[in-house]
Amino acid sequence: MRERLFLGFVYVLLSGFALICFVPFWIVLVNSFANETLIQTSGYQLFPTSFSLNAYKMLLSGDQVFRSYGVTLFVTLTGTVLGVIITASYAYVLSHPKVKYRHILSFLTFFTMLFGAGIVGFYILISNWLSLKDSLWALVLPYLLNPFYAFILVSYFRSLPYELNEAATVDGANDIRIFFRVIWPISLPVIATVALFYALQYWNDWYLSLLFIDNYKLHPLQMMIRQLMSNLNAMSYVGGSRTEYNIIVPTYGMQLAIVCITIGPIVFVYPFVQKYFIKGMTLGSVKG
């Protein structure tokens, strides 16, 4: 009896927590389809009594959302592909017993996690020394090698049997070939995990665009959210050239709609990729 009470308690607590995690998503979604006047007069609703596609129509009538989607897609794809290749090949060298300086390299990599450069040096580097202000590369380059993900891969590569390597060496293949032809294919699950972490980071980042992108034509989706949340003149931002001034602008609706458009792809692929994240974290916590 006592045990069943306890178990019931467990289920209730978990359901409660899961519900709390879900409700904000629900509110954003259903209110993005609500009538603007409903939100204005009675606030956000758990179950809106009206239905309207106005916010989406307005949002999709302008150019900005398509531009921003393009920017986010470009940054995410380029960053993930380059990041994974650079991180994996770097991690492979750190894990390779033949490399004499691997300990020095590991330490130099680890040290950047302890003592950072700080915002000022970073800002001057990107905007003055590399002149990447208002360039999409400013959104890609700074995240290409994450030491933490590198160490996840190092600990995985170390666990691979060295004989794999030797067999290929005997066949006369050089180390670059060995890495891409032998090591890469068998490491694919872990590499996919790291790729997903990178993709998530690029998709969700707004720090770099806050610092380095002033030209609104290069705003990624995250910046678009920020603009719509703070911009009083939302319509000209969203609409670009085709702006009309004689209509009621669904300010609230558009804020929610852009959020839905931004997180839509994540929520959609989430059920399929969740297990890779869990695996990656379990690997990472084993200690790199």
Binding site: L14, C21, Q40, G43, G118, L130, S230, T262
Partner: protein, 311 residues
């Protein structure tokens, strides 16, 4: 001299011998050099009166003046306190909730329920802080927010949340737990799964209830990893979460007294006042405190559990 020469030849010999491997690492090494080590020069600005037109090597050196200025008002105390206090709240409640979640999830035998619950609590980890900020507004906006609607429904007067700094440390903590606890619970759940089932079986034979098993087996065996996570957090206690705080609070000055952290303060000094040197001094102060915290962490970790130290 002789040794030096040999060492030099050793270096070249090694690089030539493993040229393909070093070639493979080259992009990564270049990345670290350019994006991690070069910007460390920015710390020099803290001792300069930096002007963009004069550059790093042409600007006037002013010794400790920027630091004297930073420490002359109470701002440094306020932002340091806010950083440490908020991070402390996040750490304690974040880890506490994650442990509870992991223990609860582990008790569930019904597979679909466990999977579904886990999917839901993990979901907030996947969205950006800006999206979270929008969700927080749907809750706490004074006229349209759900919280004030609920208060009104219960007959209370609504609160202007965005004008009430005292409540924000707790709102931020709640939001932080909401976003991160599910993520952290996975780490704890993984180590619970690693606990040998023999412990639980013999406890069952002795007639221990499930609650007792949690109390006397699961939690004590989780202790090492809880301590590691706690110490890791302490090592980073002087680094505020810029992405979170700036997304949720932004430039709402009314809320600065309780929410302004070192990172947001340095950001505003840089971007809104354009004072590079001042911002650099703040950041260097933070890095210095951070280094002390990490050293302390390492010393503590070595005393508690030699395996979990960093260096």
């Amino acid at each position: 001299m002789k040794n030096n020469k040999r060492g030099h030849r050793g270096f070249i010999h090694e690089v030539v011998k493993n040229r393909y491997l070093y070639l493979l690492a080259l992009p990564g090494m270049l990345f670290l050099l350019v994006f991690a080590y070069t910007p460390m020069l920015g710390h020099l600005l803290a001792f300069q009166n930096y002007r963009l037109s004069d550059g790093l090597f042409g600007s006037q050196w002013v010794g400790w003046r920027n630091f004297e200025f930073f420490f002359s008002t109470n701002d440094w105390l306020r932002v340091t306190w806010n950083t440490v206090f908020l991070n402390g709240l996040f750490l304690v409640f974040g880890l506490g909730t994650a442990v509870v979640l992991a223990v609860l999830l582990n008790e569930v035998a019904v597979k679909w329920f466990k999977k579904t619950a886990q999917s839901f609590v993990f979901l907030p980890y996947f969205i950006s802080w800006l999206v979270v900020s929008m969700m927080v507004q749907t809750m706490f906006s004074s006229s349209e927010g759900m919280v004030n609607q609920a208060l009104a429904g219960l007959g209370f007067k609504g609160v202007d949340w965005y004008l009430t700094p005292e409540v924000w440390p707790y709102i931020l903590t709640f939001v932080y737990v909401w976003k991160i606890a599910g993520y952290n619970s996975i780490i704890f759940l993984a180590s619970i799964t690693g606990i040998s089932s023999e412990y639980y079986e013999s406890a069952k034979l002795e007639g221990a209830s499930r609650f007792q098993q949690i109390l006397y087996i699961t939690l004590p065996l989780l202790r090492p990893i809880i301590i590691i996570m706690l110490l890791l957090g302490i090592g980073r206690i002087f680094y505020g979460d810029f992405g979170m705080i700036y997304a949720l609070i932004g430039d709402v000055g009314v809320l600065f007294p309780t929410t302004d952290v070192i990172d947001t303060y340095a950001y505003r000094a840089l971007r809104q006042m354009g004072n590079f040197s001042m911002s650099s001094a703040i950041v260097l102060y933070q890095s210095f405190m951070g280094l002390i915290a990490v050293t302390l962490f390492n010393w503590l970790a070595r005393r508690i559990d030699p395996d979990s130290r960093l260096f």
